[in-house]
Amino acid sequence: MAFPLLALGRAWYIHRAFIIFTIFMFKRDDAGHEIETIIGPTVKVEGDFAAAGDVVVEGAVSGQLRTEQSLRIGEQAKITANVSAGAALVAGEIVGNVTVRETLEITSTGKIFGDIRTKVLAVAAGAQINGKVEVGEHRARTEPKPREHVPDPNRPPLPKAKLAA
C-alpha cells in the first residue's frame, strides 16, 4: 500500500519541479529578447553593426551585420554586408555572405548574392540565391595532414657504394 503512495508523491514532486523549471526558462528567454533594434526604411547604417538582441532591418546596411538573436530583413531592405545571426528571415536583398546558426528562411521576395551557411534552410518559390550553399551541422574542417617519413628500424641500411652511385 505504501509503495503506490510513495510513487505518487515522487511523481507530484517531479511535476512541480518541471513547472518551476519551465517558468524559469520562459522568463529567461523573455528577458533575452527584450532589446530590439529597428533600422527603418529611411535610415542607412555604415560600419560594423553588432547587436545583442533581435534586429529588424527595413533600410540599408553596409559593412558588417551581426546579431546573436534573430534577424528580419524587410522587403525594401538592401544589405551590402556579411551577415551573421542566430536565426534569420530574409525578404529583402543581401549582397554578401550569410551565416546563420539555426534557421534561415528566404521568402519569395528574398535575394541573396553570396555564400550561405546555415543549419536549416527554407526557401520559398521565387527567391533568388547566387552563391555556394552549405546546410546542416558544421564541424570544424580538418585538412588531411601529409604523412611524415618515419624510418623503419628493421630495414637494413643501403650499401654505401650504392648510395654514392
Binding site: 555604415e46 538582441g53 559593412g63
Partner: protein, 255 residues
C-alpha cells in the same frame, strides 16, 4: 534626513493651498525635513553640497520636471544621496514615467521609499535623465565607435532616450526603453505628412538603435537640446552612466 527643495514658482498664491497639504501629509507620515525655496539668487550646487555635508541623504524636488532635473544634475556626484520628486504645478512627464502621482499623493510614494537605480545620460559634461533631441537634419551620428547612422534626405528629428519618449503608446514602447539596462536608445523619427485636417500620420516606422555611446557632429547650425532644454553645440559626445541615480519610484512606473 530629508531636504525638500521648492521651485521658485511655487511661492505664488495658486500653489499655497497645495503646498500646505503636502507639508501636512509629510509631517503625518513622519518624513518631514528641511525646506529650502529655490530662487535665481540661490546657488543650487552649493546648497546641496552644504546639506549633504550636514547629513542629508534624500533630496526631494517639489515642482515641475525642470526642478527635478536641475536637482538630479546636482546630486549625481554624491553616491549616497537619493532623489525624490513631488510634482506640483502642471503635468509632469518624468513623474508619470517614475510612477509618481501629482501633489499630496506623491508624499505616500516618498514614504514607501521604493528605490530604483536608474541610468543617467551624459552629454559632454551635462547630465540628463529622460533624453536629448537633435532637431537638425545635418547632424551625423557615430554609435559605439563602430558604425555611422545617416537618415536619408528630409527633416528628421533624432531623439536619444533613456526614459520612454513622450506620447508613445505602451505597445510601441514595449520594454525597449528601460532606464536601468545600461543603454541609451537612438530614435530616428521620419518626417510627418498630413493625414487630414485633424490627423497626422508618419510616413514610416521610426528607427530604434540601442547603444552605449554616441558622437554627434554637424554644421554650425546643429544644436542638441537636453531634457531641461539646455542647448549644446556640436560636437557632442553622449554616453551612459549605468545605475548612477538612486531615485524613489512608484508602483505604476513604466519600466
Amino acid at each position: 534626513m530629508y531636504l525638500y527643495l521648492y521651485d521658485a514658482q511655487l511661492s505664488g498664491k495658486p500653489f499655497q493651498h497645495a503646498l500646505v497639504r503636502v507639508e501636512t501629509r509629510l509631517t503625518d507620515l513622519g518624513i518631514g525635513g528641511k525646506i529650502s525655496r529655490l530662487s535665481p539668487l540661490k546657488n543650487l550646487r552649493e546648497l546641496i553640497h552644504d546639506e549633504v555635508a550636514s547629513g542629508v541623504r534624500t533630496v526631494v524636488a517639489v515642482g515641475d520636471d525642470a526642478t527635478f532635473l536641475s536637482v538630479v544634475n546636482e546630486i549625481i556626484p554624491y553616491d549616497n544621496v537619493t532623489a525624490g520628486f513631488i510634482p506640483l504645478g502642471g503635468t509632469s512627464v518624468i513623474a508619470a514615467a517614475l510612477g509618481i502621482p501629482n501633489g499630496e499623493a506623491a508624499c505616500d510614494v516618498i514614504a514607501a521609499r521604493r528605490l530604483s537605480r536608474l541610468d543617467i545620460g551624459r552629454a559632454n559634461t551635462t547630465y540628463f535623465l529622460s533624453g536629448l533631441r537633435v532637431p537638425s537634419n545635418q547632424a551625423s551620428f557615430e554609435l559605439d565607435s563602430r558604425y555611422h547612422v545617416k537618415p536619408n534626405a528630409g527633416s528628421f528629428t533624432v531623439l536619444i532616450r533613456n526614459l520612454p519618449p513622450e506620447g508613445w503608446s505602451a505597445d510601441a514602447v514595449g520594454r525597449r526603453f528601460d532606464p536601468a539596462d545600461g543603454l541609451l536608445e537612438v530614435v530616428i523619427e521620419p518626417p510627418e505628412n498630413g493625414g487630414g485636417l485633424f490627423r497626422r500620420r508618419r510616413q514610416s516606422t521610426p528607427s530604434i538603435l540601442p547603444c552605449r555611446q554616441i558622437k554627434i557632429s554637424g554644421g554650425k547650425s546643429t544644436t542638441v537640446l537636453t531634457d531641461g532644454e539646455r542647448v549644446l553645440k556640436t560636437p557632442v559626445t553622449v554616453d551612459v552612466l549605468p545605475g548612477k541615480l538612486r531615485v524613489i519610484v512608484g508602483k505604476t512606473r513604466v519600466f
